[in-house]
């Protein structure tokens, strides 16, 4: 019964994909010129003036070429998609790692201490809604390195969901479990590690999932600003080259990598989840 449902939905997905791609392909045929080419058009190599979105067939062809050799490096403006994505993933992971390194202990602190919560809450509330890209000029000025500035922007955008979720998870650990720790005379450190951390872990991991999602959104924009390498830069560069097939292809790749990052954390979440 369950498998039947899965089969049906998979079938429906495929049908939708075929219909969508078919319509897209059909609407974006190479225009056939009715009039003979003007002299100018002849000089320009016979190209039509009418711009059009490349059809899926073109993108699939490009995707095949790019993915069959993802790591080539032919100079600053011609690197394989794998290298560009690699740079972006590297920046996201470094920024995310340092954000977790700070957000989880600080979140623990404000979750356990109402004093610290009240003291830090105003700062968090003001800093949290700031678009991470707004930090970029300041980061560039202070750090004087575009690479580290991009990582800093990732750091600052992924810190908040982790911080708040950790604090929320820690503050809402069931009172009974805290009482169990108390009646067994556990030290503060042991209580934190043996009771509060496992109890709050699912909530903390939800925060990490939100954070990595945001970080992956932001890295594209940050790299468009910073330039040089990365998938964001690549998209913008191909736009400047008017290579729309590459733009669409890299958009799809951004989606796929973002999904994979989320799946990794979702898998970890399932591993540490518990049922009451």
């Amino acid at each position: 019964m369950f498998n039947m449902l899965r089969l049906k939905s998979a079938l429906l997905s495929v049908i939708m994909l075929v219909v969508l791609l078919g319509v897209w392909e059909w609407m974006n045929q190479i225009p056939t010129d009715t009039k003979p080419l003007t002299e100018y058009e002849m000089l320009m190599g016979g190209a039509s003036q009418e711009a059009r979105v490349p059809p899926p067939s073109e993108i699939i062809k490009l995707a095949y070429e790019e993915l069959s050799n993802p790591f080539y490096d032919a100079g600053p403006n011609d690197k394989g998609i794998g290298i560009q994505l690699g740079y972006s993933i590297y920046r996201v992971l470094v920024g995310f790692f340092f954000a977790a390194l700070i957000a989880i202990p600080v979140g623990f602190l404000i979750g356990m201490s109402p004093l610290m919560y009240n003291a830090l809450n105003p700062y968090i509330q003001v800093l949290r809604p700031i678009s991470p890209l707004a930090w970029m000029p300041l980061a560039l000025f202070v750090i004087k390195d575009s690479e580290i500035s991009a990582i800093f922007v990732i750091f600052i955008c992924s810190i908040w969901p982790m911080l708040l979720n950790t604090a929320f998870g820690v503050a809402n650990v069931r009172k009974d479990w805290i009482n169990v720790a108390k009646t067994h005379e556990l030290s503060a450190v042991k209580t934190a590690l043996q009771v509060i951390l496992p109890a709050a872990a699912p909530t903390i991991l939800t925060g990490m999932r939100i954070s990595i999602g945001i970080a992956w959104l932001v890295i594209v924009a940050a790299e468009m600003l910073v330039g040089g390498t990365g998938i964001g830069y690549y998209v913008w560069n191909e736009w400047n080259n008017l290579d729309l097939a590459s733009v669409i292809f890299s958009i799809l790749m951004i989606g796929v990598v973002g999904m994979l990052l989320d799946m990794i954390l979702a898998f970890t979440a399932r591993w540490i989840a518990y049922e009451e």
Partner: protein, 288 residues
């Protein structure tokens, strides 16, 4: 004055009123003693502060006035000497059954090695008949099994005083009966001192040596201490035929239904050191 294992003196719990309201006293003048190896139950209506007394004994709550003395020393804060079985089991859901027990055993004897801890924990799981479920998570167990694990955890740490807060309150009648008998079995082997809260009159008679009756709150008091004169070993099916059974039961029900409501109002001048009135229905019967 002879010294008792556990002495509760002048215990009172009150909360400050809001604004100009007078403070709210949950219970006051609570004086009672428990001897080593005794099984004492407390019965009273909801809101009389039974759970608060238990939490104060556990060190999880603080009394407004009064002291708790165990073994000649004043109790302050939670301790492994006082084990607690909570009504909602309070097992750690991310640990398996066995790990829930080793958690407590490790806390109790930090110097033990892994084999010792596991062997000791398994022994207590076996005692409650759950050796086969030791690798299952609490979410995979029924309510009755969970409470068994919780009881095994409390007994495994061998506390000097075992506190139970309505341990069978959430269980169905059949399961409750089975676990009650298991509890009697474990208790008679270990000779643990037990302080237990219950709503169930029959449960109290089956299990305890003495039953403390609490009047209704606010300003609840511990009114009487009823001795259960039915000899041990007791069985659920047999005790109802004992001549004292209905005397005790009627006395308890009468108190809960008729007398507990106005008890506090009738006591106009209370001696703060007053002990609850000891009621022995066996003697009454002989006199009558």
């Amino acid at each position: 004055m002879t010294s008792h294992f556990l002495e509760i003196q002048g215990l009172k719990k009150s909360y400050p009123g809001r604004g100009k309201d007078p403070e709210v006293t949950i219970f006051e003048h609570a004086n009672f003693n428990i001897e080593k190896g005794e099984f004492v139950c407390v019965i009273g209506h909801s809101g009389c502060g039974k759970s608060t007394i238990l939490n104060i004994l556990a060190g999880l709550d603080e009394a407004t006035e009064g002291v708790v003395i165990m073994n000649g020393r004043e109790v302050s804060g939670p301790s492994l000497d006082r084990g607690v079985v909570f009504q909602n089991y309070s097992l750690l859901p991310w640990r398996t059954t066995l790990q829930n027990i080793t958690f407590a055993v490790q806390a109790r004897w930090p110097a033990w090695n892994k084999e010792q801890v596991i062997a000791h924990s398994q022994k207590y799981l076996e005692l409650v008949g759950l050796k086969n479920a030791m690798n299952r998570k609490p979410s995979e167990l029924s309510g009755g099994m969970r409470q068994r694990v919780s009881i095994a955890r409390a007994f495994a740490t061998q506390p000097q005083l075992l506190l139970m807060d309505e341990p069978f309150g959430a269980l169905d009648a059949l399961t409750r009966g089975v676990i009650q008998e298991e509890l009697i079995k474990i208790w008679s082997e270990s000779k643990q001192t037990v302080f237990m809260i219950t709503h169930d009159v029959d449960e109290a008679i089956l299990l305890s040596d003495r039953i403390l009756l609490m009047s209704n709150g606010p300003k609840a008091q511990i009114a009487e201490s009823v001795e259960v004169t039915i000899p041990r070993p007791r069985k659920r099916t047999d005790i109802i035929h004992h001549p004292d059974y209905y005397n005790i039961r009627n006395h308890l029900v009468d108190f809960l239904v008729n007398r507990s409501k106005d008890y506090a109002k009738e006591q106009t001048e209370v001696d703060p050191n007053r002990q609850p009135v000891t009621v022995n229905l066996l003697k009454k019967r002989e006199i009558a």
